[in-house]
């Protein structure tokens, strides 16, 4: 996967991920922040465009448009179980999609060493940073292994449909874990040869720093928090 350059600092991207998680996904702030929520729903699409991830952006747009249309045309005239199911699907998609796309953007545009550099600047201890770096490097591997094993087992007729669902655990989960663990050991050896095992400060060639775009994002987030706080304490006091 070709990494694209991003004009945002990794720290800003982390901030954006947290904002998406609390504002769009968990809908913190309720009705008062609806304008901001809309803005942050659109933002991941724009960012994906700047990172040249056109397919992810277009597919995401299509899914979101269809969902919104369902919401306004079909949902209004449905009732009972159908409406319940529809509502669940709509809620799920409108909430998870922006956060998911933001995740895609961050992963597509951030190198592991950039992430590491950003965490170091924020003085997050290595004990937390290294496992997280390894994890993000490792997710695609686990998924790839899972896909291959699923294909292999399908050929042997072991799957949900094959009447052998009970064997799923042993023949799918166990090989997945063993393969991943083996690869992990190799990964670990390779990382150690690059000096990860030494208890001294490591250098990093990634240049990170805040630019204009970063300050704009931060100001917007600050304004949002102040606006929210004002509403919160205003209504209480």
């Amino acid at each position: 996967m070709e990494l694209q350059k991003s004009f945002l600092d990794p720290r800003t991207k982390l901030l954006l991920v947290f904002v998406e998680a609390t504002l769009v996904l968990a809908t913190a702030g309720g009705e008062r922040l609806v304008v901001f929520r809309l803005a942050f729903t659109v933002l991941p699409f724009l960012l994906l465009l700047t990172a040249k991830c056109y397919s992810a952006c277009i597919v995401g747009m299509l899914v979101l448009t269809v969902t919104e249309m369902l919401k306004y045309f079909v949902f209004q005239s449905s009732n009972g179980t159908l409406s319940f199911l529809l509502l669940m699907a709509i809620t799920l998609i409108t909430r998870f999609l922006p956060a998911y796309l933001m995740g895609v953007y961050v992963i597509r545009t951030t190198k592991v060493s950039e992430f590491k550099a950003a965490m170091e600047r924020m003085h997050v201890p290595d004990e937390l940073t290294i496992p997280m770096c390894v994890m993000f490097r490792f997710f695609p591997t686990v998924r790839e292994e899972g896909t291959s094993i699923r294909a292999a087992m399908k050929m042997r007729g072991i799957g949900l449909g094959g009447g052998k669902a009970s064997e799923m655990l042993e023949y799918r989960v166990v090989p997945m874990i063993s393969c991943s663990a083996k690869i992990g050991e190799e990964l670990s050896a390779s990382a150690l040869t690059r000096g990860l095992g030494k208890n001294r400060k490591r250098t990093n060639i990634c240049k990170i720093g805040f630019g204009v775009a970063d300050y704009i994002v931060m100001v917007v987030v600050m304004v949002m928090i102040i606006y929210w706080m004002a509403g919160y304490f205003g209504s209480v006091g």
Binding site: A99, L128, P131, V134, V173, S188
Partner: protein
Amino acid sequence: MNSQGNNSKLNGRDLINVGIYSAIYFVIVMAFAMTGLIPIFLMLLSSMVAFFGGIPFMLFLTKVKKPGMIFIMSVIMGVLVFVTGMTYMPVIVSVITGIIAELVYRSGSYQSMSKAILTAGVFPLWAVGNYLPLFLQREQYFAQRESYGQEYADAVMRLTPNWMMIVLVLATFLCGILGGLLGRFLLKKHFKKAGIV
């Protein structure tokens, strides 16, 4: 290894192991967490996490020889579920349960198999943190999920009187123990043969 210095301090290899097993654990957990939208599954979620997570977790424990590794993994789980939209409460819970799990496994000096199974019971309690907003901020919880519809809210409400929290903790713990036993069985049957342990 002389260059690693102090023996009880975590070195690069340990931290990488934490990362690898956190990734495997989280992938398995997420596969089951997706079913949480159906009200009845929402309640089974932490138990499922405990049971199926037991397999990679037991393998992880065979790599744990120093204090801190279980705690770090627990905190990472808390942060990850925060990012996937479960409020900040799981982070606090994961810190507490991480410390407890760490102490339990430590009391067996990082070797005892029975303590390992007990740890597999304690560790997944971080998943119970996901439910805390449901009990502590009941009104806010449903206000946030208003758009899920009245049926969903009613169904969840019916399933969650306050004593349910205790049931959930106990169920998760028990499923964790069962998952640990299953993990031990699979360790013996498969992973030893494959040369991973």
